[in-house]
Every structure is written in structure tokens, then in C-alpha cells.
């Protein structure tokens, strides 16, 4: 049976509900209905917040925190075909939560690897996110990432920029983590205008680039090593790779 859901977390939880109470036997789960007339056996999940909540409560009650977090994190990874694995994970967990520690289970191992990839991106972005100062003093960062990491970054910078206002703007997902005197959290950004940057910005960006160029040792040059640690995909908004001086 092919199962289609709306791609949201609530949708997926409803799907889990339906698997238990409508005895679905999915062999494939997708977010969009494929244009395939040959598959007769299609079930479309109708998202039901109520049922979704019931499932979430049940998971919270019978799963360890570590396993619950994995389920939430996997959802932030996106792109991956994780649904069948995650369904199997949840079903197994309800039966025997000890089995979720068994990394010999291919679905446990694969999901842990997907989660690890998410943490990799998060950790890289802790370092590679770059803020610019706007003319009202707000710090503003643009990001484009494979996984949805805005929440993690927002939390991380809340500790270190505690006395600052800041915005972390995920350009592709059209969302932003905003922290100012009135608001703290994630918002949708449907459209935006390039904000005004403070006068100081050019000065410090240039100073940073001077520093960055000066600390490299020519006799040890190793661009390949540099790229292993800092793949090109992270460099889009990094000051030291965008400043032409």
C-alpha cells in the first residue's frame, strides 16, 4: 500500500495513528501523490491534530528521552527518505523500547546516522554562521543549509548573544529565529527587504579578512584539507569568502 501524507509532523503522527487503528500496511510513504495510475492501492492521510496529539503523548509516555528526541530531530533533517524507517522505529519502540538501543537493527543504525548528519550541520553552523550589524544594532545572519537548523542555532546564540538582538534568517525555508525585546522564537518570513547595514560593518569585515589572510602559513598550504573541514556549500555567506579587497 502506498501512503501519502502532508509532510508535516502532525501528518506523520496521524499516519502512525491510522496504521494502528485502520490497520494500514504501508510499503511506501511519500509526501506528494505520485502521478502513477498503476498504483491502485493509495491511502491518503487526513491530518487530524487530535489523533496526532494522542500518538505524541503515547510516545512521550513510553519512549526514553533520547529516542523521543531522535524522532523529533529526524523531522528536522528533511530531504531524506526517512518515513518508512521512522515508522518501523516507532512501532518497534511501542513493542520493546530496549530494541531501540540495538544498533544492529538497520533502521536504528540508519536513523542514528541521519541524526548524526543533522548534528554535523548544526555544529558546523555554530562556527560558520556570520552576523552583520544592522543600523539599529541588531545582528543579522543569513543561512542556507541542507537541514533545518534554525531552532538549534537560535538556542545556541541565545546563550552567547544574551544581551543582543539578533535574527537568523533561513533564506530557502523562509523562516527566521528572532530575538529582540518583544519576541523570542521562530517566525515565517514570506518576503523581506535587504536591511540597512551599520557603518561599522565594512571596517570590521575588512579587519577580519586581514586577520584571516595573515594567519595562513604558505609553506603548509593544503586547500584540500581546508575544504574537507569547510565544504564550499557552507561558504555562501561567510565574510572571509565574500569580501573582495
Amino acid at each position: 500500500m502506498q501512503v501519502v501524507y502532508d509532510g508535516r509532523f502532525e501528518g506523520f503522527l496521524t499516519l502512525v495513528y491510522d496504521v494502528y487503528y485502520k490497520k494500514l500496511k504501508p510499503i511506501n510513504i511519500s509526501k506528494t501523490k505520485e502521478n502513477n495510475l498503476f498504483i491502485a492501492d493509495i491511502y491518503e492521510v487526513v491530518t487530524d491534530e487530535n489523533n496526532a496529539n494522542k500518538v505524541l503523548e503515547a510516545i512521550k509516555k513510553s519512549f526514553n528521552k533520547e529516542h523521543l528526541n531522535l524522532i523529533l530531530n529526524i523531522f528536522l533533517c528533511e530531504n531524506e527518505e526517512f518515513e518508512m524507517l521512522l515508522l518501523q522505529y516507532i512501532i518497534t519502540g511501542f513493542k520493546d523500547k530496549y530494541e531501540l538501543n540495538n544498533i544492529n537493527n538497520p533502521f536504528v543504525f540508519k536513523l542514528q546516522r541521519i541524526q548524526k548528519e543533522l548534528f554535523y550541520t548544526v555544529h558546523k553552523m555554530y562556527g560558520f554562521t556570520r552576523f552583520v550589524e544592522l543600523d539599529d544594532g541588531t545582528l543579522y545572519a543569513k543561512i542556507e543549509t541542507k537541514h533545518n537548523v534554525v531552532y538549534f542555532l537560535g538556542k545556541h546564540f541565545f546563550k552567547r548573544l544574551n544581551n543582543q538582538k539578533y535574527i537568523i534568517h533561513d533564506i530557502n525555508r523562509k523562516i527566521a529565529f528572532i530575538k529582540n525585546d518583544e519576541y523570542l522564537g521562530i517566525q515565517n518570513i514570506s518576503s523581506f527587504e535587504e536591511p540597512n547595514i551599520s557603518e561599522n560593518e565594512v571596517h570590521f569585515a575588512k579587519l577580519w579578512c586581514e586577520f584571516f589572510d595573515a594567519v595562513s602559513i604558505e609553506s603548509r598550504e593544503n586547500k584540500k584539507c581546508q575544504q574537507n573541514f569547510m565544504p564550499l556549500l557552507f561558504r555562501t555567506y561567510m565574510t572571509e569568502f565574500n569580501q573582495k579587497s
Partner: protein, 413 residues
């Protein structure tokens, strides 16, 4: 302005770049509400230089003026180079502004000696006070203690910094005397010993300390170097020892010529050995001894040890302890944890290990799975070493134009 701020930055970053240490790890989260800055336990790399090194801290010299004349040092008195100096205020402002933009984790501050040791240390302390007290900055600060400065100043610096260090640079007193006539090992270690003692008094977590050794400028062998590191770790004096392949910057009759290439492989092997000391419970004399005073260039130190001690192998992956697993070449700390986790549920075979993404490239010659040993290479030292250095090439069948039976003109078969 003759010596504008950009040039100053260039000069003082350039002068500090040969200092290897740039880690920002090992400090627990210590943010405070309404203030700026926090540290991250695992450390964070904010960018990588074109030589592939992590940049975590704003690593600069306070000044590159110096009254000393150490032969290996680019900033020695007798060198004709551009000199510059920050003011404490300038440095604090740059640090804060870099930090807000997430360029850095914090500051790494070292300095040439101006006037005298105490004067220099006091300037550094001044910058620290502005950052910590005035700007309420809680990010990472690493300070190079100035050997020979007064206990009182060191006490104040230790109270404000996350990590302090003092570079031994050369592994023996003899070499120091030759190349850095104003330094002795005692003098270099003195501030570290003092810093340890005061942080022990306070019953708080002792402050992290590190040092750096230059490799390849003087005739010490790897045994001398690792023995020194091991002693320093054992006395709980240091958290890290850094090794820096000697890069000739000065012409000096006592030094290798300027054209020599930095011994990068040796540096790499030393780091591997250092990891064995710190995370794999090896002692230095297991890795190097009088018969083998230098690390092997062809294989890593763990493999080398295993080849010398084949009586412990092959190990049965399902039976041996965690400590024994750690001794298997090619399997790291994470691999060991995966094996331990997985074997609680079933007895593992080679296929299972592959599924867990554990690299068997080297390990397979040193393990058995459920009593089975791999079949390609027999269990002799020479054979295994040979197989590890020159892994059997995968056969690539290259189709040749002439193998096939077709017409060269029409292409018809």
C-alpha cells in the same frame, strides 16, 4: 596614520601564526543572563585557513617588539621586520566586535617582551580586565604567560582566563641554551607550576594549560619528546602538548637551513602518539624505546606497537575488554563504543562490523570474529605490514579497443 589598524592586524596576526594551539574546548558553559559570550565544551571552529588549520580564536600578539633574541623566532630582536603594538582598549574592542559577528570563540593573546616581563604581563592583564569587567565578556580567553613575570600578575591572569600556556619550544635544556639563550626549561615551566598550584588551592576545576614543542629544529628524537609530554601529562600540569613542525624563518648557524621543508609527517605521527597517551592508555615507552627511538614513518604508532606485540593478537572482537579493543589498530574510541553497544545484542561477525561502518582496513589483520580470521594474509608480522602499507589493488578491467571484435570503420560488431 602610518601604521593603520589593518596593517597592525596583519603584522600581529602574522607574528602569532606559528603558535599552533587554537582550541577552545574543555570549558563548560558559563554564560550569564544579560551578558555577552559563552564557551562550548567541545570547542568550535569558526573558519579554516588555506593550510587547513582551524581558526577558533582571535590569535594575535599584543606586540611583536621583543627584547629577546631567540634564534628560531621570527620576532627576535635582531630581525629587521615591521613592528606594531595594540593598545589594551583596541584589542578589547576588536574582540567584542568579532565575537558579536560570530567570527571567533574568543581571544588568544601572546606577546613579545616589551621593556620587561612584568610590564608586558600587565598590559595583557589590562586588556583582560576591560573584556571581563567592563564589557562583561564570558567568551574564551587563552593567555600565554610570560615566563619571569611576577606571581601576583600570574595570579590575576589565571583568575580571568579560561586557559593559560607557556611554550617550552625545545625539548631539552641543551637545545634551549643553544637557540634561546635567555630561556631555560625551568623558567618556562615556572609560571605553569605556579598557575597549577593556585588553581588547586581554590578547589575549583583546575585551569587548562598547554605548551608547544618545536619538532625538527634540534637533534632530539621522538622518544625524548614523548617522554617529556608524558611526564607533563602525568603531573597533571598540562592538558595538551602541541607539536609544531619546524618552519625555518631565520638563517642561523645552529638551525637547519631556510630551504628545508617542515617535517609534517613526523609532526603527524607525534600527534597520533600523543593521542595514544591521552585517550588510549598507552605509556610512552610502549610507543618508543631505545630500539626504536623514533616513530615509524610507514605505519601509525598503534599499528607499529601491534606489530611488535603480536602475542596479544588476534583479538576476539566479541570477548575482549574495552581496554583491549582500544589497542586494535584502525579502531578508534567511537568504534569501540559501537562494538560494545552492538555486541550486547548479538555475537558480531565481519559483516556486522561493516554494517556498523567500522573500518576494517587495518583492523581485520588483528581480530577474529566468532573465532574466524580473515583469509587473504597470513598472521606474520612482515606479511601484515606489507599488506597495510601496500593494500592489494582492486583489479580494474580496462576495456581495450583491440579486445573487441568489431570493425574499426563502421563500429559494427
Amino acid at each position: 596614520m602610518k601604521n593603520d589598524i589593518y596593517e597592525k592586524m596583519r603584522i600581529l596576526a602574522d607574528s602569532a601564526k606559528y603558535d599552533v594551539s587554537c582550541s577552545s574546548s574543555g570549558s563548560d558553559n558559563n554564560h550569564k543572563t544579560g551578558e555577552l559570550g559563552a564557551t562550548h565544551n567541545s570547542g568550535i571552529c569558526h573558519t579554516f585557513t588555506s593550510d587547513g588549520r582551524c581558526v577558533s580564536l582571535l590569535k594575535v600578539l599584543f606586540t611583536n617588539h621583543c627584547i629577546y633574541d631567540c634564534s628560531y623566532c621570527i620576532n627576535r630582536k635582531s630581525n629587521d621586520i615591521n613592528r606594531a603594538a595594540f593598545t589594551p582598549r583596541q584589542l578589547a574592542d576588536i574582540t567584542i566586535n568579532f565575537y558579536k559577528r560570530n567570527y571567533i570563540e574568543g581571544l588568544f593573546l601572546s606577546s613579545g617582551i616589551v621593556k620587561n616581563e612584568d610590564h608586558t604581563m600587565a598590559l595583557i592583564l589590562n586588556a583582560l580586565k576591560i573584556l571581563r569587567h567592563e564589557y562583561k565578556f564570558n567568551g574564551y580567553i587563552h593567555v600565554k604567560l610570560i615566563p619571569g613575570s611576577s606571581d601576583e600578575l600570574i595570579r590575576e591572569v589565571v583568575a580571568l582566563a579560561n586557559r593559560v600556556s607557556s611554550n617550552i619550544e625545545l625539548p631539552s635544556d641543551k637545545s634551549l641554551k643553544l637557540l634561546a639563550p635567555n630561556k631555560t626549561k625551568e623558567k618556562v615551566l615556572q609560571p605553569l607550576k605556579y598557575a597549577r598550584d593556585i588553581s588547586l588551592e581554590k578547589e575549583t576545576k583546575p585551569i587548562g594549560m598547554s605548551t608547544q614543542l618545536i619538532v625538527g629544529a634540534t637533534p632530539e628524537n621522538d622518544k625524548d619528546i614523548l617522554k617529556l609530554s608524558s611526564v607533563l601529562y602525568d603531573k597533571a600540569l598540562l592538558k595538551r602538548v602541541y607539536y609544531s613542525a619546524y618552519i625555518p624563518v631565520n638563517d642561523d648557524k645552529n638551525l637547519p637551513a631556510v630551504i628545508t621543508k617542515p617535517p609534517l609527517l613526523r609532526e603527524h605521527r607525534l600527534y597520533q602518539a600523543d593521542w595514544l597517551l591521552r585517550f588510549y592508555d598507552f605509556t610512552y615507552d610502549e610507543i618508543v624505546n631505545d630500539d626504536n627511538p623514533n616513530l615509524d614513518e610507514e605505519v601509525d604508532p598503534k599499528t607499529f606497537w601491534a606489530l611488535q606485540n603480536l602475542q596479544h593478537f588476534p583479538m576476539e572482537i566479541n570477548a575482549v575488554s574495552k581496554e583491549e579493543l582500544l589497542r586494535i589498530p584502525g579502531i578508534g574510541v567511537r568504534g569501540v563504543y559501537k562494538i560494545i553497544k552492538a555486541r550486547r545484542f548479538k555475537s558480531l561477525n565481519f559483516e556486522d562490523l561493516k554494517k556498523l561502518k567500522i573500518s576494517l582496513k587495518r583492523a581485520k589483520y588483528f581480530i577474529t570474529c566468532k573465532g574466524k580470521y580473515q583469509k587473504e594474509v597470513s598472521f606474520y608480522k612482515e606479511n601484515i605490514k606489507e599488506a597495510i602499507i601496500k593494500p592489494p589493488k582492486k583489479k580494474i578491467i580496462q576495456p581495450s579497443l583491440f579486445d573487441m571484435d568489431y570493425s574499426a570503420i563502421t563500429g559494427e560488431l
